[in-house]
């Protein structure tokens, strides 16, 4: 029983990591109906920027918001420079561009910072909390708490502010929004900026746990995809719930299903993706979309 609980708790811990990145994916999707394959690499880059600031002597609590600002600006810049020229291009073009961006950022990070893993500071201590004999580290707890806070902010932004409403309108009904005077293009840029900042939060929170290196988000992004898809790719709450479920499922499948075993954890995430997309494409909390002829 205790072992089972520990597996679940460890799953929740890694699930928190997936959820934090999935939130960024959901934001981009809400902004422009696109899954950003470069989200993980953008988050990684932002974390390296934070790392550079901290090693130059900047305090963590200053480097954090500065990095968020830089990530926000960077996201907008990427949208303006790379995405906007192909705004109206078919989906395929956009997907390939984000894939190219991911490859580019990964290579760039490797070239500038090298591939040796580094430690990254965390505001949370390394102590653990005891839950009925199973242990939860404060850092993992911190990831989940911060993700929940980000989730709340995103929810408030999207559902309770005019800016959020405008963003969603621009994403779903671009032409109509233009007619109403909405600067659609800048709304998209805003979406990218916000997603980039959320990704930066994710990176900064998880780097102390998974170690800072250029490849740190390469497989996390797949788990984050699974989380977003499972939760419903439009729903930030779904992303968080999806993340936790993915984390727990991967752990339990690896621990208790002999034909899965510890080395096919990623395959479990793939199975989740395929299973959800085939059986319930809108995920747990997504709303069915109607395609208009």
């Amino acid at each position: 029983m205790q072992e089972f609980l520990q597996q679940v708790i460890s799953g929740v811990a890694s699930g928190g990591i997936f959820a934090s990145l999935a939130l960024a994916l959901v934001l981009i999707y809400n902004a422009m109906g696109l899954v950003n394959f470069a989200q993980g690499e953008m988050a990684m880059m932002a974390t390296f920027i934070a790392f550079t600031l901290i090693t130059r002597g900047v305090s963590y609590w200053i480097a954090f918001p500065v990095t968020l600002a830089i990530a926000f600006a960077g996201g907008i810049a990427i949208q303006r420079i790379v995405i906007r020229p192909v705004e109206r291009a078919p989906l395929l073009t956009l997907v390939i561009i984000t894939l190219g961006l991911a490859t580019l950022l990964n290579g760039l990070a490797g070239a500038i910072f090298g591939y040796v893993p580094r430690s990254f500071p965390s505001p949370f201590s390394v102590q653990t909390v005891d839950i009925l004999g199973a242990f939860f580290s404060f850092r993992d707890l911190g990831v989940i708490t911060v993700s929940a806070a980000v989730l709340l902010l995103i929810y408030l932004l999207l559902q309770r502010t005019t800016v959020g409403l405008t963003m969603r309108a621009a994403a779903h009904h671009a032409e109509a929004s233009r007619l109403l005077g909405v600067r659609v293009s800048w709304m998209l840029a805003l979406g990218w900026g916000l997603a980039s900042a959320v990704g930066a939060v994710s990176g900064i929170m998880v780097a102390p746990i998974i170690l800072l290196e250029p490849n740190m988000m390469q497989t996390i992004i797949i788990y984050a995809f699974a989380a977003a898809v499972l939760g419903g790719i439009e729903s930030p709450l779904g992303a968080v719930i999806g993340g936790l479920i993915v984390g727990v499922t991967v752990n339990l499948a690896g621990a208790y299903l002999p034909f899965v075993g510890g080395d096919l954890q990623l395959a479990v995430a793939l199975a989740i993706i395929i299973g959800v997309l085939v059986l319930k494409p809108n995920g747990l909390l997504g709303r069915p979309t109607v395609r208009r002829v």
């Binding site: 894939l99 190219g100 995809f225 793939l270 395609r291």
Partner: protein
Amino acid sequence: MRRLRTLPPRYWLVLVVVLFFIGLPTVIDSFLSGEWAQALVLAIAIMGLNILIGYSGQLSLGHGAFMALGAYTSAILAHRYKMDYLLTIPIAGLLTGVIGFLFGVPALRLSALYLALATFALAVVTPSLIKRPAELTGGVQGIVLLPPDPPQFAKDAFAAVTGTPMTTDQWTYYVTLAWALVLFWLAWNLVRHRAGRAMRALRDGEVAASASGVNIAGYKTLAFGISALYAGIAGSLFGLGSGFVSPDTFPVALSIQLLVGTVVGGLASIPGPLLGGIFAYFLPIESNQWIPTQTWIPAQIVSTVGKAGPAVTYGAVLILVMIFAPNGVVGLVTAGYTRLRRRLRGVPDRETGQMPPDHQTA
């Protein structure tokens, strides 16, 4: 004879290209033939991917997995069951094609974006899936294949032309070339005839195509199966040329390499995959060998490219091509040719469709 004279220039171009590839091994080093064989392997896989993406509009970022399937099928048949390697190639292709077809069934339910997502995840998982059935696949040890000895007639024929008997690398090249010619010809026929038109119709507008009576599900899964078949044969030929298959031989980078080649060459074209395959194959090999020797490139860029490997170049190329030349090299060439023709011959009359009379004959 009259028909020969009135053949469009395109056909002569194809003939020249085919002759070029047939003659290539006679003038280059033997091991370079091996490299060109691998470039043709990529071209075959890219042709398959092109049928899927360019002609039927479905996006797959995981075709490296199908290549792995084809390569391992051949390797296991040849290594464990002692089958002649050349026989295993069509078997590997067919098996992969069937599995691709089956894969295409659930893929129908996925929107383009989700299909991209799922296939990308598949590409990342492929090496760990290969490692699992270790008795069958050899696990991380991989499977070492005996290099094929060219048959005597080939050795003699080559010696008659160049003076030295054919080497293994050259033989591999010719086997690969033969398959490439067959597969490209098949693809060309496919897109010209009914299936191709159906696929293009559904790429351009699924709803309209369905309303016109095109069997969407059938053609989409068919496209998946065909593209997997091509990838399977490519994988099998890959094993022939490199003599070794292992999990790390099929990383996600391979699927991205295929995508880059498809896009750079030009979607929905027949010559595109050939150019794309050559580009995708030689870029990583040349980028950190050729670039440092170019003194006109500033040292900073050289060292960044060197340390980052082809990743930075790939990424930049993908982005630039999609922004400036979404139809790839072939698109650029065709657009340039069209513009040239227009300038020389004028544009057809909007209403009647008639070309303006030639200046000389007027």
